[in-house]
C-alpha cells in the first residue's frame, strides 16, 4: 500500500510539473523551467526569482532579461528542451555587460518581443525603449586597449559630411543615423597611422577592425581589444576575430592547398594580416560601401589615402615579386604553384628549377613523363609544316570556327592524327588571362599542337599548328604574340605542369608538353581512350553549335 501511494505521488508530481513546466532551457550553465508557451515560440522561464523570456532572434534562439532599470540583456542559450531537444549548441562565451551589448539586446527585444502579449515581454520592450531613447549613437572619442600587450590608442571619430537629400530621407525612413564610421587613432608610436572602424551594434556585415599603417606596411587587427570612453561600463569588448569572416587565408590567393603564407611576397611579411584585405580592396578600386565617402575630415581622408597607397603598391608588386615554382601532389595529381622564392626554396629539392615537395617523390616517374619533351631528331622542313597546317585546317570534323572553348579537344585530336602520320608532335600551352583580339572571346589558357621545324639556317624552332587562331603554322613566339593578354607581368617560359596561380601574380606562362598531356591540370585518372572520346564528343557538340548558328 505504501508503494502504491508513493507511485501515485510520483505520477501526480510528474503530471503537475508537466502542466506547469512545459520546457527547460540552459543559459550560461543555469537551468530555467519554462511555462507552456502562450505566444508562438516564446517561453517565459524562471530560475528562483530570476525570470527570462526565451524567443527567436534573427540569429536563432536567445534569452532576454531585465538587469536593472533601463538595462536589458540578450544571452545565448545552449539547450532548449520542449518534449524533445529543440536547440542545442556548444558552450558560448558568457554575456558581458557593455553598452554595445545592451544596444543589441534592446534592438532584438523590440524585434522579437514587440508583438508578444506576455507581461514580461511587455516589460522588457518598455525597458528596451527607455534604453534606446537615452542611447547616443555617436561616440566622439574613445580609448582602445589591446588585450595582448595592453597597448592603448586614443581615437577620434571622423566628422560626417552633409548628407544628400536621398540619404536624409533614408535615414528618417530607417530611424538611423548615417555617420562616418571611421576613427583616427594614435598610440605610443607616432609613426603609426591608424584607421579604425567601429560598426554599429548589431551590424554583422562589418567587423570592428583597425588598420595600423607604418612604412608602407599595414597590420589588420580584427578584434582582440576593449573600447571605453572613461566611464566604468565598457563600450565594447571585441574578442579576436569578432564578426570576422577572414579565416586566416591571409594571402587571399587560391588555392588553400598550399600554405597561404607562401603566396605572400617576403616584402610583405609584416603585412600578412592585411594582405588579403588590401588586395581585395584594390580589386574593388577601394570601394568600402561608401563609408569613406561619408567622412569629411582631412584626418580620415588622409588615412583612407594611405590605405589606398599601400594596397595599390601591394597590387603592383605582384608582377615583380620574385617567385619559384612549387610542385605538390594534391588529390592524387601533381600541381604547380608560384610561391615566394625565399620561402619556397626551403620546401624541397630542385627539379627543372622547380621546388619539389616530398609528396611528388612517389610520382617522380610520372613527373618526368609529363614534364620532359623528347626530341627524336626528326624535323619538318618549313614547307612541310605549312602543308601540315593545310591538312589540319581541312579536317572537317574539327570546328575551328568555334573559338570560345574546346582548344584542348582540337589540340588532342590533331596531335594524335599528326603522330599517326609519323610526325613527332607535342603540345604548346599558354596560361594567363588571354583574349582573341577584336572579339569577346576570353581564355584562361590555350593549347595547340606543335612540331619541330628545321629552318633554312639550321635552327630548330617549334611551330604551332592552330587554325583557330592563325592562318598558317607560326613559330611559338608568334603564336604567343597572336593572343591578347590582360596581365601586366612578364611571360614566363616553363615546363609542364605550369603554375595554376600564375594569374594571381600577373604572369602569363608558356610551356611545351608531350602530346599525351590533356589539360592544364595533370589528369592522371583520364586514360588515352577517355581523352580521345571526350575530345570527339566535344568537337561534335561544338560542330552542332555552329550548325545551329548557320555557320557550318
Amino acid at each position: 500500500m505504501k508503494k502504491f501511494n508513493a507511485l501515485i505521488f510520483v505520477c501526480f508530481y510528474l503530471l503537475l510539473s508537466k502542466m506547469v513546466f512545459a520546457a527547460t532551457v540552459e543559459v550560461e550553465g543555469k537551468q530555467y523551467n519554462c511555462e507552456a508557451p502562450k505566444s508562438y515560440m516564446t517561453y517565459v522561464c524562471a530560475n528562483g526569482s530570476k525570470k527570462i523570456i526565451v524567443g527567436m532572434t534573427d540569429g536563432g534562439w536567445a534569452a532576454f532579461s531585465k538587469e536593472g532599470p533601463g538595462i536589458v540583456s540578450l544571452k545565448s542559450i545552449t539547450k532548449l528542451i520542449d518534449g524533445k531537444v529543440l536547440y542545442q549548441s556548444n558552450e558560448i562565451a558568457p554575456y558581458e555587460d557593455t553598452i554595445y551589448n545592451r544596444k543589441i539586446a534592446a534592438d532584438q527585444i523590440n524585434f522579437s518581443l514587440g508583438s508578444k502579449s506576455e507581461p514580461l515581454a511587455k516589460e522588457l520592450v518598455s525597458e528596451a525603449n527607455t534604453f534606446n531613447s537615452n542611447y547616443n549613437e555617436v561616440i566622439p572619442s574613445l580609448t582602445l586597449k589591446m588585450n595582448e600587450g595592453g597597448d592603448v590608442y586614443q581615437c577620434t571619430k571622423g566628422s560626417t559630411r552633409p548628407l544628400t537629400n536621398k540619404q536624409t530621407s533614408l535615414q528618417d525612413q530607417y530611424k538611423t543615423k548615417f555617420t562616418c564610421p571611421y576613427y583616427s587613432c594614435s598610440g605610443k608610436d607616432p609613426a603609426e597611422k591608424v584607421l579604425m572602424v567601429l560598426p554599429k551594434p548589431g551590424n554583422t556585415f562589418t567587423s570592428p577592425n583597425m588598420l595600423v599603417m607604418k612604412n608602407g606596411q599595414a597590420k589588420l587587427v580584427e578584434g582582440g581589444y576593449k573600447i571605453s570612453n572613461g566611464s566604468s561600463l565598457l563600450i565594447a569588448n571585441f574578442p579576436k576575430g569578432y564578426n570576422s569572416d577572414n579565416d586566416d587565408n591571409t594571402a587571399g590567393l587560391p588555392p588553400a592547398d598550399v600554405n597561404p603564407d607562401l603566396l605572400i611576397p617576403s616584402k610583405y611579411n609584416d603585412s600578412k594580416s592585411s594582405y588579403k584585405y588590401l588586395l581585395d580592396m584594390a580589386k574593388k578600386d577601394f570601394d568600402d560601401s561608401g563609408y569613406l565617402d561619408l567622412c569629411s575630415g582631412n584626418d580620415i581622408k588622409a588615412l583612407g589615402a594611405e590605405r589606398k597607397k599601400i594596397g595599390l603598391a601591394m597590387q603592383s608588386y605582384l608582377s615583380e615579386a620574385e617567385l619559384i615554382e612549387y610542385l605538390k601532389v594534391i588529390d592524387g595529381s601533381i600541381h604547380s604553384y608560384y610561391v615566394d622564392r625565399k620561402k619556397g626554396q626551403t620546401l624541397g629539392c630542385l627539379y627543372q628549377n622547380k621546388v619539389v615537395d616530398s609528396s611528388v617523390l612517389g610520382q617522380y616517374g610520372h613527373l618526368k613523363e609529363i614534364s620532359t619533351v623528347k626530341s627524336n631528331g626528326k624535323y619538318l622542313r618549313p614547307d612541310e609544316v605549312q602543308d601540315l597546317f593545310k591538312k589540319a585546317k581541312n579536317m572537317k570534323d574539327i570546328p575551328f570556327d568555334y573559338k570560345y572553348d574546346g582548344c584542348y579537344a582540337r589540340a588532342h585530336v590533331m596531335s594524335k592524327r599528326f603522330e599517326a602520320m609519323g610526325i613527332p608532335t607535342q603540345k604548346a600551352w599558354i596560361k594567363g588571362k588571354l583574349f582573341v583580339p577584336g572579339t569577346d572571346i576570353e581564355w584562361q589558357y590555350h593549347v595547340a599542337p606543335t612540331v619541330e621545324v628545321k629552318e633554312k639556317n639550321g635552327k630548330i624552332v617549334n611551330y604551332v599548328i592552330d587554325p583557330s587562331l592563325t592562318d598558317k603554322a607560326v613559330p611559338l613566339d608568334e603564336w604567343v604574340a597572336a593572343m591578347g593578354k590582360k596581365t601586366t607581368g612578364p611571360i614566363m617560359k616553363t615546363t609542364y605542369p605550369f603554375p595554376g596561380n600564375a594569374l594571381d601574380f600577373q604572369r602569363t606562362t608558356v610551356a611545351i608538353s608531350p602530346s599525351d598531356v590533356y589539360a592544364p591540370t595533370d589528369l592522371q585518372s583520364m586514360s588515352a581512350e577517355d581523352k580521345m572520346e571526350f575530345s570527339t564528343q566535344k568537337l561534335k557538340e561544338f560542330t552542332e553549335v555552329l550548325a545551329s548558328q548557320g555557320k557550318r
Binding site: Y404, D440, Y518, A519, F542, V545, Q549
Partner: protein, 87 residues
C-alpha cells in the same frame, strides 16, 4: 504568299531556337573572379579553356563546386559562354 509566310515563320522559329541554345555539363570550378567593371563573375573550370560569365545569383552554387572540389551542373550559352543555370 502563304509559302512566304511559312518561310518567315520557319526563320523566326529557327533563329530563336539558335539563340536560345544552351549546353549543360557537369564541370568543376577552379576559379571565381568578380569583374567589377562588367558586374559579373568570371568562372573557370578544370578542363575548359574559356572564361565563362556568371551572374551573382549563381555565386553560391559555383563557390560550392570550387571549395568542395565537386562537380556542378552548369548550363550555359555556348556562344558567349554566359552561364544561365547552376545546380
Amino acid at each position: 504568299m502563304k509559302i512566304f509566310l511559312i518561310l518567315i515563320l520557319f526563320l523566326v522559329v529557327f533563329s530563336s531556337s539558335a539563340f536560345s541554345k544552351t549546353l549543360t555539363h557537369d564541370y568543376q570550378v577552379t576559379g571565381l573572379t568578380f569583374n567589377a567593371e562588367k558586374k559579373y563573375y568570371e568562372v573557370t573550370f578544370v578542363i575548359e579553356a574559356g572564361i565563362y560569365k556568371a551572374d551573382e545569383k549563381f555565386f553560391k552554387c559555383l563557390q560550392k563546386s570550387l571549395e568542395k572540389k565537386k562537380l556542378a551542373k552548369v548550363t550555359y550559352e555556348p556562344m558567349g559562354l554566359k552561364i544561365t543555370d547552376c545546380q
